[in-house]
Symmetry: C2
Subunit: 321 residues, 2 copies
Amino acid sequence: MDFEKELSRKTTWVQDAVAEYFPDSAGEGYAARLAEAMRYSLAAGGKRIRPLLLYESCLIHRADPEKAKPFMAAIEMIHTHSLIHDDLPALDNDELRRGKPTSHMMFGEAGAILAGDALLNLAYETVLNAFPDCYEEDRSPAPAGCMVVREVAADHMARRWRALKILAEKTGIHGMLGGQSVDVENDKRGNLNPDRPTLEYIYENKTAALLEAPLMIGAVLGGADPDEIRRMEETGSRLGAAFQIRDDILDLTATEETLGKPVKSDESNEKRTFVSLLGGVEKAETLVQQLTDEAIALLENVSGDTAFLKQLIRYMALRNS
Amino acid sequence: MDFEKELSRKTTWVQDAVAEYFPDSAGEGYAARLAEAMRYSLAAGGKRIRPLLLYESCLIHRADPEKAKPFMAAIEMIHTHSLIHDDLPALDNDELRRGKPTSHMMFGEAGAILAGDALLNLAYETVLNAFPDCYEEDRSPAPAGCMVVREVAADHMARRWRALKILAEKTGIHGMLGGQSVDVENDKRGNLNPDRPTLEYIYENKTAALLEAPLMIGAVLGGADPDEIRRMEETGSRLGAAFQIRDDILDLTATEETLGKPVKSDESNEKRTFVSLLGGVEKAETLVQQLTDEAIALLENVSGDTAFLKQLIRYMALRNS
């Protein structure tokens, strides 16, 4: 398998899938400006890592990626919501993201706040709208085998409900937003030396939660058992920590050109990361390697073809931009 | 029927129902501060009008209000999310709400932004978590009549899915957030003379959408047909316009003491409302009366006991605080 080629092919598929659900200002009438702001940040690029993880988890667990598209779009909307609000003057006060002006630079602070809100909501709306009440709809005429058809439909509805529940949990106070709030508090209170458990909490929630969700959702949609879903969650947890520590390392070692954003921002903000906590880039590198190995070892006990996902995890943890 | 007594009894029931789902900082560990901010605004009072409309719609359409509690909490969380973000310095810049300091005065701007985000998300999380996958769960042992039980469970799951879909639609770009964004744009661009269609769009979406949702959701949970659901939506639409125009009138005629917030804010902001558009309080009063009559007339064609709801609509449109 040529990993880079496969990655490129799958990324293209995922990019197209996600783009199907972008708001289009043309049809929005009065709310055109809001739709434009939402689309601006969604279309600003990014590697679509989270939808890609969902795609791959679908393949592993024999779920149909086609039917998981709304979930892929939803997870990218939630991620984009978090970037818009993180960049606000009251939070990180960033003017550039991926080399482009951030949302509030383009649409004003109020516009960016509302665009972020509307993207978070659109995530749920997208999933809820994508599935007609198939169960109810095939009720009236009762062809032969109809009971079986309805059973399957109800089964899939229950899986989607559970998948959406996971997405909500990993996004909210017990996930991304919880981690984000503790991160912000540490900054704002001038408590620039969070201890290791606090830093682990932040990484687990702010970053890992939204990598765990797509890995779990693919398993849920494929009807995997609870143990298998838990293994996917733990894989995402290790990957998330490795991914975030890699981010910290790159902030110190990369150039603004390769990253598309200012470097050494943690250092100039005197922000504690795993690099400063552990006492240097080298030790952080060792931890990234260890977490990556753990993530991959967890996949040994997952049924299905996990070869590509393992390579993807290495690629994400060892990236240089 | 003693309306005031009934209103008081039902409001107490709804207040208790909603409070069951408030976040509790005690159990939240690192995210305690975020939970505290979420709870602060949820507990700050308000008349719980939206959950009350849902409660009443359940009674009318023979849905069990007990099972609609998570939806009641969800709609109040979404409403509270919108108040927190509306009050932010970048939007209305209000320091008081219901006589108490607004969220950003208490928790800082970043804290208020994240509390609002987390409340919007918690709305979905609350509904999704409240219902175990009852369909899946009663699968394995197959007692007599099990097929019927599973049919009913799947039916109810489909209704909840549709109810959540309505909530998401009325909250997002095609509802509350769409209206809010156009309202903000009109302010920020110094376009203080929106025409009547624009003002109608703002009132329909910013205010009415979140009154339509609970009226519709009660009907959906009770298994009402599409025509009936549409009538509830239209009732909410008229009620929403009347309610918002009443707000505009009170801003001009009430005292800060009765309202619990500064009065004449629209005037001092030179903000166009239906009062200024129509050329005075008296004409606005006439329109409120007309919209109220229309809302009540729509309920004539709704089956079920709509007597209390009709009185509630009059009460909301004719309130003096």
